[in-house]
Symmetry: D2
Subunit: 366 residues, 4 copies
């Protein structure tokens, strides 16, 4: 019931603010016996880490994770795993202007109205900094998946920056790690570099679309109604700061199709059922089909920009604000490892739920 | 943790299958003292009821709800409210063909693989029939909102049928109840009637986009991260059968905007903060701003169509299937009252959560 | 989070009041493929049913359960199982005196203070009538246990009525079903009959101690801290109306022992570890040892007695009350099948939790 | 659903093992605006700290708590509060003998069977060391109670050591802080000192009974069935390591009473209803009456004793074990502050639940 927790059985509670002493994730429900060293988590944090190139915030955080519990001699014990990351580069003086003013497009005003108190030094829990905790938890989920469902492969990538979409004809899995945007389209990566340079220099920002593909998820994972695999994937992505839309398979475009086009026909393959297409995005009736699962989401542009914007102060006076400080022209870039982490947690969680209820036995076909 | 439950404090568990004896909703956490008669729920079920015009399934269900617990002399007592709806027109012989065959685009195959058992007479929990339970629960949520937050107004409507979008210039709240599609655009209603007639006659189907607007939600409802108001609204909509995409405010389009366009500027009005625009859809950092909240989702076309489709049998043999029976050419129509019900449950739930944690006190502005 | 729900994965929500139209249990998380007919539940309800002899309330309820969902052709489908029991003998006129007066020892005054509304015709959710829902849910849990852990055997019995304890030397499992008190001591059964006759005639009542033994529970079920098997068993029993104390193994007496006496020594048997004694009650560190699990609890005497008692009215005036109506001189008798039901639900739940997290694999010994 | 979490809205997840780097509590759902400095938590940890006198374990832990999140300038922000305590005196060499042997009465064998892995250096999560996390969380609960229900007073004390009960005639609240046993009976404190000296010297141990009284809890807190205030208090106490029995009010003794004796008569006082006695322990039908709430529990003697005990090794060979190391002759002593902490968390949680559902309004009497 905690509002800072996700997951049913593999349950992650993130904690910590952008300008507090530390942040982290309390992870309960991990299977015992999973090899898990600090490096297994650090590797994913390094992928998300800001300040790695000119396209992401220049806040320099070591983002070094410490495992405080739940493992013994490099193996999970089945007890809660605590991951802590110290904040080191808070440089809070950058934020002085927002003590009294609410930044438009930020959570400043709603925080204040709800809680009547706000750490004016930064975005608190609504900062993209919170996602480091998610990536740490995702590292644990990945280690557990490697142990109990080793074929599952989870890959995130960017498919649009602002109005610039990738060309699906150029899709190349091997390109994803080759450019700072985690995009599978090498041509797009070049175009985006130029585009983002311009935005960065003008102190502007832009949104993005990220897609995650989950390969080799076994069929039968999920549930028909509220516990739909789509619901939990959608909620996981929507729970990330700045996400405003989520799609499974055809997504919003499903509204545009007819029944003839949308329903994927079924044939029998050597290893079980096959489908003629994948409009469903790997999920039917909330349950995985065994096809690739695709989830997609939109990240809004950060509202921290150099153009002055109208706002008010806590005392209700009209004013303007420019958000200086260190921010991302396209915060969506860093959302890629975050999305992978969320997907890993959801898939692991549903594999555990499934083996609880069904024992992992499948209804036979053929 | 139940996979058939939604809500944190106002908690709804739906139960029942399309071809079982009954279905319903177990609703726990409703405040005591709320006037609630059978008619307060029935009125919303009547709105959803199939067979009311030629555009929805001809299955004829009375959909009469019985309140079995949780009220005394027409007032809620604070204990669980059980709403039961008997299934009366099951006509299961229509479904004989699907005993052995999996219908493409339906949950038949995934149900079978997961559970190893399937009520072949219909869609089970994945049937649109399940949504009657949601509408009943939504009726309770609306009654409770009327009692504790009477200004909140929740209105659903259809904004696209297939590729045919409404013209926002024609938006008229008063039109919504005047046509069988719950659309605010009278011109679209006419066009869609012709279009859907054609689809119905050819045994085809089409998807739709539904939008819900929540007016007069107080500011401060929601939470910054996993308990974001957007997350719970998105999950609520995604949990409905056949939904494949969900958007808050700008939704997927947020990816296309720059920070200058997207962030709504803030000014001071007579009754508190005002915003120059509402790209955020009434939510910042997961917490309501006091503006209109807009959530939008896509419903896929039903896969029950008259065109023969390739599929396999339980024994793995290739075959074809035509789904006869009584189905909706645009199942999205009936999703409108369902979406309103889900929104009502989420808003009530978060108002209760907020008064638990903060006591309902707001940080003052001005 | 529902306050009317118990269980983590096998999750039971009970609903209904003593004088409303019906009551029941919404059971989610049952494994699919479990044979479950109406009779599998009815048999346990019949055991609990009041009015079967002169020692229990003369309220005559058919207590006929109807399964409204979650099974198909006598097999569970893995979806929520709804069990409904209609109230038929409400005879509410018996309760006229309590419209304005609060019965001492009953929940009347606290209900009123909390909710500001109360169904004055009876005890509402605090009535022993609510336990019929628990017994129905327990019937489902037993059916599921039979399917996935068939050796588990759960037996409840009464060990004390008022100050009259059984003689453990007389303990005979076969006696339990041979007397109206479910006691394993035939001599006690005789004594109690005379004792209770006297109490019944004088309009008095008395408390009782009930014990449940769970045999053949596999080792490794439970968790070390808040999810301790003892915690969930204790909570399950304490959640029953009128229970005021709960013990595992030595229970309160553990306080009186020294470490030498209390710790059960371990030896190696043919089929794994054995213990020299069972002071632990089959649980160490919250996890089952494989020994018999024993849980014990005290039921207070019903406060519905014929002796006039001082109380006040809703308007605060001093008065007296005699509770007429149909009540139990020893309500603990009917608690025996209720306790078995609760134990079955907890054990099943923890078996599911264990196979979720560990896959059901055990650390080898020997 | 986390098995390491307690609470509905004020939700505490404890983490960490006896011999890992650190342990702590992740606390979510605390109201915002609560003054909370490190010292507000440290003061309770100091009370629980081992090694303060010759009657508790000589393990010397600083038990210094660090608040890592959830406060700003000494005020809670409404976001998760992370409390971390570093382990400093692990001295794990003391435990070398238990690498291969299972200690009787400890969780060693069940841990191993469940998880297949065990940190053999100590008791892991089953160590009394885990209770430091609970005390930290309790400190937060107390601070929040002080803010929103300042009259609530929670006091724990020991009422029996082994077979030596206090004399209730000697009960003096002011004595509780005057002796190392937190007992209200000065005479008992003297007797116990002698008794425990003997046990300590002989390497033995003994159990204890602890009672907690909650004064000035408002009426109307709790719920009738599974969310009974008694259920949550019982579960909270039973979840503590080594607890084997829990009682509310009359507790197990309620079984021995008649209805005439047990039901507390009601009269009208100057400030609302009064009761002639308090057999109910301040709770009727799961809901607080406004009287003192009393919860009592038994702690078993620690199984770490110097007398050799029969056991087996992981490979199943018969052997003997003496548990050296640093242990408590009466671990119940340290359970007093732990019990207070658990009670504080439960009461706060139910006050939040109540204001969520009812808005905190009470049905009027008089």
């Amino acid at each position: 019931m905690s509002l800072n927790t996700y997951g049913h059985l593999f349950q992650v509670t993130t904690w910590g603010e952008s300008h507090g002493p530390a942040l982290g994730a309390t992870v309960d429900g991990c299977p015992p016996g999973v090899p898990l060293a600090q490096a297994d988590i650090q590797t994913w944090l390094d992928k998300r880490k800001p300040g790695q190139n000119k396209y992401t915030t220049q806040r320099r955080e070591a983002d070094e994770v410490e495992i405080l519990s739940g493992t013994f001699e490099g193996i999970t014990t089945g007890t809660p795993i605590q991951c802590m990351i110290r904040n080191t580069d808070q440089r809070s003086k950058d934020y002085g202007d927002i003590v009294e003013k609410f930044r438009p497009g930020h959570a400043d005003i709603t925080y204040w109205q709800k809680y009547g108190i706000r750490d004016y030094r930064g975005g608190g829990r609504s900062s993209a900094r919170e996602t480091a905790s998610r990536v740490a938890a995702g590292g644990i989920a990945r280690a557990a998946l490697k142990h109990i469902a080793p074929d599952v492969k989870i890959t995130g990538y960017m498919t649009a920056m602002g109005t610039k979409d990738i060309n699906r004809a150029n899709f190349d899995w091997d390109q994803i790690e080759q450019n700072p945007f985690w995009t599978p389209d090498a041509q797009a990566a070049e175009d985006w570099a130029t585009y983002l340079d311009g935005l960065r220099k003008s102190g502007s920002s832009v949104g993005a679309i990220i897609e995650v593909t989950i390969q080799n998820c076994p069929p039968g994972i999920g549930a028909p109604v509220y516990g739909k695999l789509d619901t939990d994937l959608a909620a996981a992505m929507m729970s990330v700061n700045a996400v405003k839309g989520v799609e499974l398979g055809e997504g919003m475009n499903a509204a545009r199709l007819t029944g003839e086009t949308n329903a994927d026909e079924i044939t029998m393959g050597a290893n079980g059922p096959k489908f003629s297409s994948n409009h469903a995005g790997g999920i039917l009736g909330g349950i995985s089909t065994g096809q690739d699962i695709t989830v997609r989401f939109a990240v809004k542009p950060t509202s921290s920009i150099l153009t002055p914007r109208k706002t008010i102060t806590k005392s209700g006076e009209a004013t303007e604000i420019i958000t200086k400080g260190r921010h991302d022209p396209c915060v969506g870039i860093r959302a890629v490892p975050v999305a992978e982490a969320m997907a890993a947690a959801v898939i692991l969680d549903h594999i555990l739920l499934d083996r609880a209820q069904t024992g992992g036995i499948r209804g036979p076909i053929g």
